[in-house]
C-alpha cells in the first residue's frame, strides 16, 4: 500500500539526457503502465525508483517520504528486468529463494521452502526447481523472474518489459496471468512496456512517456479516445490512426471538413462545429480517425466518400482494408468475412463523433481537456 511519486526527475548519461523533468504520481494499489517507444526513458525511470540509478535532480517519494538517499536494498520494491537477470549459477529454486536469504531476514529453511512452494505453484514453475536458468524457455524464465520479485512481498512492483521477449502465445497467457495475480492487483505496480495492447489490457492508468517526459496520463479509454496529441494517438492502436490534412469549411449553416488530398468532405454536426469554434480552431487542421471508425456504406452513391479498394487482408478475427482516396491511403478495420476486389469503387462513412482534431503546427489535440 504505497503511493509512488516521481517529481521533476532529471537524469543524463554522459551528457545524453534520459529523463527531462519526469513527473508523475501513482495511486495506492494501482496498476500503472508506462508506455513509450524505445529510448523514451522507461527503464531509467524504473531504475531511479528502485534506487539503482541516482537522479541528477528531482525526488522519488514513497508515501510522502523522499527516499532519494535510501539504497536499493532498503527500498520496499521488487523489480523484474527486461533481461530477466536470473542468476545463471543458481538453480531455479535458489533463484526464487534468493530474496529470502538476504542479510537481516534469517528465515528458517522450512519457511523459505514453504514460501517458494507457494509462489512456484501459483506460477506453475514448481517442477523446474533443479534446473538452471540456461535450461529454461523464455516464458519459464519470465515466470521465475516474476516469482523472485513476488516472493519478497514488496510494497511496490516494478516490471520492465516483462512480456516483450516471449513469443506471442505465451505473451497472451502471461498477460492473462498478470490479471489474475492478486499480489499485483493489491500492490502498487509500475509496469513498463512499448506494446500498447499490454498497456490497454493491464493498466488501471497509463502514462505515455517520450524523450524522458510524461506526455499524458489517463485511463486506457482516455488514452485511446482522447489522446493529448498526435504522438499519443499514434502510440496506441494497430493499424495506426488515419491522419488527414483537413480544412474547416463553413457554408451558411453547414459545416464540413474538406480533405483536399482525398477529394471529399466530411460533414460535421452543428454541436461539433460549436465546440470547435469555442476553442478557436485554425482553418487548417489535422484530423485523426481510427481504422475501426470508418465504415463501408453499401449504397456507394450515398456514402460520404467514394474511394477505390487497394489491399484487403483478412486476419481471422478482423479484416484490414486499405483504400485509395485520390492521393492518400486510408486504413479500415472491417469484418474479415467480407471480400473485396482490388481497385473497385467502394463508399465509406466516418463516425463524426470519433474524429480527433489536431493542430498541424503543435500536434496537440484541440478539443483535449484534463478530464
Amino acid at each position: 500500500m504505497t503511493v509512488v511519486a516521481v517529481r521533476n526527475v532529471i537524469k543524463s548519461y554522459d551528457g545524453a539526457p534520459a529523463l527531462n523533468g519526469l513527473d508523475f504520481e501513482t495511486r495506492d494499489a494501482e496498476f500503472f503502465v508506462l508506455l513509450g517507444p524505445s529510448g523514451a526513458g522507461k527503464t531509467t525511470t524504473l531504475k531511479v525508483i528502485a534506487g539503482l540509478e541516482d537522479p541528477d535532480a528531482g525526488e522519488v517519494i514513497f508515501d510522502g517520504r523522499v527516499i532519494n538517499t535510501l539504497p536499493p536494498n532498503e527500498r520496499p520494491v521488487g523489480m523484474t528486468f527486461e533481461s530477466y537477470a536470473l542468476y545463471p549459477h543458481f538453480s531455479v529454486f535458489e533463484n526464487l529463494a534468493n530474496p529470502l536469504r538476504a542479510p537481516g531476514r534469517k528465515l528458517p529453511a522450512a519457511e523459505i521452502r514453504n514460501r517458494v512452494d507457494k509462489i512456484a505453484k501459483m506460477l506453475r514453475i514448481d517442477h523446474l526447481y533443479n534446473r538452471r536458468p540456461g535450461e529454461l524457455s523464455g516464458g519459464q524464465k519470465q515466470r521465475v523472474s516474476l516469482g523472485r520479485t513476488m516472493i519478497r512481498e514488496p510494497a511496490v512492483y516494478l516490471m520492465d518489459e516483462p512480456l516483450s521477449h516471449v513469443d506471442a502465445k505465451i505473451r497472451f497467457d502471461l498477460r492473462i496471468q498478470f490479471h489474475r495475480l492478486e499480489a499485483l492487483r493489491n500492490c502498487t505496480s509500475i509496469y513498463v512496456t512499448h506494446d500498447y495492447v499490454e498497456a490497454l489490457s493491464l493498466g488501471d492508468r497509463i502514462a505515455i512517456i517520450n524523450t524522458g517526459q510524461i506526455v499524458q496520463v489517463g485511463t486506457p479509454k482516455q488514452i485511446y479516445y482522447q489522446p493529448k496529441n498526435i504522438f499519443v494517438a499514434r502510440m496506441v492502436g494497430q493499424p495506426h490512426i488515419n491522419l488527414l490534412d483537413a480544412a474547416l469549411t463553413i457554408n451558411g449553416n453547414e459545416a464540413s471538413l474538406r480533405i483536399p488530398q482525398a477529394g471529399f468532405s466530411i460533414p460535421i454536426s452543428a454541436e461539433l462545429r460549436q465546440r470547435l469554434e469555442q476553442v478557436n480552431v485554425p482553418q487548417d487542421l489535422t484530423v485523426g480517425i481510427r481504422p475501426m471508425d470508418i465504415t463501408i456504406n453499401s449504397e456507394t452513391e450515398k456514402a460520404t466518400a467514394r474511394v477505390r479498394t487497394d489491399v484487403f487482408e483478412p486476419f481471422g478475427s478482423l479484416g484490414l482494408l486499405s483504400v485509395k482516396a485520390q492521393d492518400i491511403y486510408l486504413e479500415l478495420l472491417l469484418d474479415p468475412d467480407l471480400s473485396f476486389k482490388p481497385d473497385s469503387p467502394v463508399g465509406i462513412d466516418f463516425r463524426a463523433d470519433r474524429l480527433i482534431f489536431f493542430d498541424p503546427a503543435t500536434h496537440n489535440n484541440l478539443l483535449w481537456d484534463e478530464d
Binding site: D14, K47, A50, G51, L52, P71, P72, N73, V77, G78, M79, F81, E82, S83, A85, L86, Y87, P88, H89, N98, P99, A102, P103, G104, R105, R148, R152
Partner: protein, 293 residues
C-alpha cells in the same frame, strides 16, 4: 560427371588436410623437441649427455635427481651447496604469496575498472598494463638500490612485492573483461533482492568470474614462477627461487648438464599440475571472456 566432380573435390580436401596436418606436425616437433630433449637429459648419465652423435637410446638413471635433491654434496673441488630443494621451497612461497596478494588487491581493482566509470580510468588501466610490457632490466637497478636502502634486499616481502609487477597486471587485465561481461542487471537484481553491494559481489559476481580467476591465476603463477632476473638481482641465498638456484650447477669443475636438466624437469612439475587442474577453466574461461554472448 557428378561423381567425377565429387571425387576430385574429395581428393582436393584430402590433400588440403594432409598438408595442414604435416605442417602442424612440423611445428609441434619444433616446439616440443627442446622439452623432450631436456627431459631425456635429466635421465642420462653425464657421459651419455656429452657423446656425439647424440644418443636416443640410453640406460636411464636417477643419478641427476639424487644429485640435486641431496642438500649438500661434496665435490672434488671444494664443497658446493646445491640448495635446489630450498630454492624450490622459496619459489613456492614467493610465487604463491605474490599471486594471493595480487588476487586480493587485483580482483577489487579489476571490478572497479570493469564496472564503474570514473575520471582517469583508462589511464589507470593502461598504467597497470605498462608494468607488464616494460622490460624488467629497465627498473631493476633503481629497485635494487631502493631495496638495499630500505632493507628489503634478500627478503621474501621484497620479492613478493616486486613480483606484483608480473602478477598484478595479468590479474587486473584478464579479470577486467570478465567483470565487464557479467551483466549489470544481475548485480542490480541482487541489490533489489535485498543484498548489499558487498554481498552481491561475493554471491553473484565472484562465482561468475571464477573461470577468469582460474585463467588469470594460472598465467600469473607461470610468469612469476619463471621469473629469473628479479630474483637473481634482488635476492641472495636466503630467498633464491628455483630458477636462480639452477645456476649453481654451473660449477668451477664442469657444466652439470644432467643436474640442470633434472632441475628443469622438477621445476616444471608444479606448473604442470596447476595447468592440468585449471585447464578446463582456462579453455572455457578464455573463450567465454573473448566472445560476448
Amino acid at each position: 560427371m557428378a561423381t567425377a566432380n565429387s571425387n576430385s573435390r574429395k581428393r582436393k580436401v584430402f590433400f588440403q588436410k594432409l598438408v595442414v596436418n604435416i605442417l602442424l606436425l612440423v611445428c609441434f616437433a619444433f616446439l616440443l623437441f627442446p622439452v623432450f630433449w631436456v627431459t631425456t637429459m635429466a635421465f642420462k648419465s653425464h657421459d651419455d649427455i656429452l657423446t656425439w652423435p647424440p644418443k636416443f637410446v640410453f640406460k636411464p638413471t636417477l643419478e641427476n635427481f639424487q644429485n640435486i635433491t641431496t642438500a649438500i654434496r661434496t665435490y672434488r673441488v671444494g664443497a658446493v651447496s646445491s640448495d635446489f630443494l630450498k630454492g624450490f621451497g622459496n619459489s613456492l612461497v614467493v610465487t604463491t604469496s605474490a599471486l594471493l596478494l595480487s588476487l586480493l588487491t587485483g580482483i577489487p581493482a579489476a571490478y572497479a575498472l570493469g564496472r564503474f566509470r570514473f575520471k582517469g580510468k583508462n589511464d589507470i588501466a593502461f598504467t597497470f598494463l605498462t608494468f607488464r610490457f616494460a622490460p624488467e632490466l629497465l627498473v631493476i637497478i633503481p629497485i635494487y638500490l631502493i631495496f638495499q636502502k630500505i632493507g628489503l634486499y634478500d627478503t621474501y616481502i621484497g620479492l613478493v612485492w616486486v613480483y606484483q609487477l608480473i602478477t598484478m597486471p595479468m590479474v587486473i587485465w584478464i579479470l577486467m573483461s570478465y567483470f565487464e561481461d557479467v551483466s549489470v542487471e544481475l548485480e542490480q537484481a541482487s541489490l533489489v533482492d535485498g543484498f548489499s553491494l558487498f554481498h552481491t559481489f561475493r554471491r553473484i559476481i565472484l562465482p561468475l568470474a571464477k573461470p577468469g580467476i582460474a585463467a588469470a591465476s594460472l598465467l600469473a603463477f607461470i610468469y612469476a614462477w619463471n621469473n629469473f632476473i628479479f630474483a637473481l638481482i634482488l635476492g641472495s641465498s636466503k630467498v633464491q627461487p628455483v630458477t636462480v638456484s639452477a645456476l649453481k650447477f654451473i660449477t668451477a669443475e664442469k657444466l652439470r648438464y644432467g643436474d640442470i636438466a633434472a632441475a628443469c624437469v622438477l621445476a616444471a612439475i608444479p606448473i604442470l599440475i596447476l595447468a592440468l587442474y585449471a585447464q578446463r577453466y582456462m579453455v572455457r574461461g578464455l573463450s567465454l571472456g573473448a566472445v560476448k554472448k
